[in-house]
Amino acid sequence: MSIYHEDEQAIKTTKLGGFLSSWFKPVLPWLGASVFLGLFFFYPLARILWLGLNPAALNTIDLASLLLAIRSLLFTFYQAALSTILTLVIGLPAAILFARYNFRGKSFLRVLTAIPFMLPTVVVAAGFNALLGPRGWINLGLMDLYHLQSAPISIVGTLGIILLAHVFYNTTIVIRLVGNAISHLDPRLEQAASTLGADPPRVLNRVTLPLLRPSILAATVLVFIFDFTSFGVILLLGGPGFSTLEVEIYKQAMQIFNLPLAGLLSLIQLLCTLAFSILYSRIVIRTAATSAPRAAATNLRSARTGRQKLFLSGMVVLLLGLFLLPLVSLPLASVTRLAADRGERGPVQYGITTDYYSELFINRSDSIFFVPPFEAVGNSLGYAGLTVVLSLVLGFPVASALAHPSHLGRFLDPLLMLPLGASAVTLGLGFIITFNRPPLAFVTSPLLVPLAHTLIALPFVIRSLQPALASIPDRLRQAAASLGASSYRVWFAVDWPIVARATLSAAVFAFTISLGEFGASSLVVRPEYPTLPIAIARFLSQPGGMNYGQAMAMATVLMVVCGIGILLIERLRLPGAGEF
């Protein structure tokens, strides 16, 4: 009896095991990211939104609040749409430039376009002001040239500088996502179309664009969401005349302490992001096309015809103007000193100094929060390294699962983008009320910083990997398998060479996001482990030429560290990665 019973149990267990494994297998790749996002994103967010938006609190929202919400929403849409269009106008030709042409200084220019992405807004604002401000070089130059009394260009505090700053920040997203796809296009498809009699516009419309559509859409959606949630650019460059949803959330939650309205605004922002993501995944699934990807190097050439040379030089000049000019003012400001006695100065006089750098190493005021620059660099690199590892480990399985359309994937895909659209201010408050008691009492842990960075980096990592993984035709894998390769070997011989480059691109995104992220306003931070952006902000919070100079010196250090970091990651020769 008992034996019989045990046997039945055994059969049941096997059946259960079989059921579990068939159920478990499609879920498995999602497990890490789901647990991570559930715990560190959806749970705290739901708690803080419920606090603001429970039925009792909702009664406090009046008509004026609703009007404010609608006005912010409209402006947010308007500036984000304009910014995204402009970013694509600059970014798409730039992506072609990097993917198709060989030219001198290419890797420098490529790194240059990525640096803005990790610079804190205070620093970017200082750079733009030195260039375009009322006493910026361009205005001073024009006044000198045409003997003008006042500055001819006044762009600071207008919509124009908001758009310009957004293009400056986000062009790298287009260059990386679309450029990566262009460099792997199979040129034989375009050649075949031409041979069959298609003129160049027709080749572009019928062959090239359909193949690039997933990556262009991915870049568009990411850029749009970044512009949609813009905060620092609006506050520091746009000024008080402009208010996006995120700025309004900050005012309502942090200054006025109107949690219901802040919650409502956060919810609107979140739902919009969700709508964009759903739209994106629908279009991508409908239009995804695969072709055998080519090694990137086979698509590279030097400019030969006159038109190509014109395009190449025009683009290089444009990108240098857009990226180098605002950036170069920071290192310049970090070595220039105002004339000694400003109290009695005539025209502003300058001198060259290295004081700001040497002062970084001296704790002159014996402050407990003093951090030597190498330690700040170390903290930043430590957080960035953890972010890269964590987001790749969580993102890779998800991107692989997404590469094969499934019901589960279609449902979960848009949710992955949500952390980009969530208000940092709201999420920060969510952390406070969620992680302040056991067993989750780690709101004060320094490890929360890389975890928060990973939330933002993860969508980028997935969006960088997924197009590459999806572009691999199954027949390549089948061919390898039928030739006797094990599934591991198939992955290493077929998948890996194709996605290795996309992995590096994903790593660069995670790295720069972490280095530049300025979480101080929304997270509770342990001041003994500041990152470089936090160290910069500390200098800029007190008056005095030395503080300003040290902030510029620290910003220069940040730029150099980030530039070297990107160069190193991009030059990694991954085993088996080959020419891809």
């Binding site: 890490g32 991570f36 606090l51 200082a126 002001n129 009322p134 006493r135 600071v156 505090g157 520091l236 000024g239 005012k251 939650a253 942090m254 200054q255 006025i256 302490f257 109107n258 105002l338 000694a340 006695d341 400003r342 109290g343 009695e344 100094t353 004081d355 704790n363 005021s365 014996d366 402050s367 407990i368 929060f369 590892v389 480990v393 969580l394 890779f396 302040n436 008691r437 056991p438 009492a441 004060t444 842990s445 490890l447 929360l448 306003s521 509770v524 931070v525 342990r526 001041p527 902000a537 800029l540 919070s541 007190q542 008056p543 005095g544 030429g545 030395m546 503080n547 300003y548 100079g549």
Partner: protein, 346 residues
């Protein structure tokens, strides 16, 4: 599977780093981002009481307070420093503090003791004032404006930059000074005239001071900026090359400055009440009080504390600062800011 293991590992690491038992007792102090102190002063307290101090920086003054209020059921810290008189009523209404009648209150003038129940104890004060660029006024042969009314004169057109009171604490302070001076019914008319006279508004102090103000390293266009009465001293102390005189100074007319007082309080629910009280005493005592000026560029409230030479020489406090009852500020602040926004920005 590997990735799951790693996540589990990381989470465990977080749990252990958060919960690991510490050999010495720790006392946690939640502050705003501008808090600073000398290493030697903090170490002295730690050694005398065999305690480790942990500081949590939680954003600007408003953000830090809101975080303290949101987490009051399971407080993140034992002591909260950094509520000012514009936020005091919000803190008191939320009931986050444990009252403590420190014996050191005896050395503090009554004008700073704004909470009669001693839940929030004054630590420091400062004056939010208009700073001017000395060189600009000298080279343009312009007299320095001496009052709020002077700022409406045509010769000062487009010369003043202020911060948005909705996003900046000096901006709010200056708005309150005008409300004190012109009354709740008259201040909007004043701001309308300021706007007609080319007033420049930016969102934060950093932008106002480092981008718009002509007397700072950003050498902008406006020679008048809303900052602190101690900023001229900071310009000397943090000069890029030694200065004998400050390039800037404050306008100290009637009600041109708003007096800001900052408070410390013990958070309800602390498990180290005795130590927390000792720390509050320590903050009000001479050693810490004398450390305040050069670390945070505000003034000590303790009458026994002497000022550093740089403060005596280059910083001045207002003779007739504007003040308002914290309860009145709390009751009207949102409406005042909304009305100001409608008048000045739209």
């Amino acid at each position: 599977m590997k990735q799951i293991l790693l996540v589990v590992f990381l989470l465990t690491a977080i749990f252990f780093s958060a919960c690991s038992p510490q050999s010495t007792i720790t006392l946690t102090i939640m502050t705003h981002d501008s808090f600073a102190a000398s290493q030697s002063v903090i170490t002295a307290f730690e050694q005398a009481n065999n305690v480790k101090l942990i500081f949590l920086k939680s954003g600007d003054a408003g953000a830090a307070l809101n975080k303290a209020i949101l987490s009051k059921d399971a407080p993140l810290a034992d002591v909260f420093y950094g509520v000012d008189n514009t936020f005091l009523s919000r803190a008191l209404d939320a009931g986050i503090y444990e009252p403590y009648a420190s014996p050191l209150l005896a050395n503090i003038p009554v004008e700073f003791k704004l909470d009669p129940h001693n839940q929030a104890l004054p630590v420091d004060y400062g004056d939010i004032c208009i700073n001017y660029d000395k060189a600009f006024f000298a080279s343009h042969n312009l007299p320095i404006p001496a009052s709020l009314e002077d700022l409406l004169k045509p010769e000062y057109k487009t010369l003043l930059v202020v911060e948005n009171p909705a996003t900046s604490s000096p901006g709010l302070g200056f708005l309150l000074a005008t409300i004190k001076h012109f009354g709740p019914d008259g201040y909007l008319a004043y701001w309308r005239s300021l706007r007609a006279n080319g007033l420049v508004v930016v969102d934060g102090w950093e932008t106002a001071y480092y981008t718009n103000f002509s007397g700072s390293s950003g050498h902008g266009l406006q020679p008048l900026v809303v900052s602190y009465s101690s900023s001229p001293a900071a310009e000397v102390i943090y000069a890029s090359s030694p200065l004998t005189t400050s390039p800037t100074a404050s306008i100290l007319g009637p009600d041109t400055c708003f007096r800001q007082v900052e408070f410390v309080g013990i958070l309800k629910g602390t498990r180290h009440l005795n130590l927390a009280q000792k720390f509050v005493d320590f903050m009000l005592n001479r050693q810490f009080q004398q450390d305040i000026p050069l670390q945070m560029f505000v003034y000590p409230v303790n009458l026994d504390a002497s000022l550093p030479q740089e403060f005596i020489q280059y910083a001045q406090t207002a003779r007739q600062p504007a003040t308002l009852d914290p309860a009145v500020i709390a009751a009207n602040r949102d409406k005042w800011i909304a009305d100001w926004t409608a008048t000045v920005l739209h």
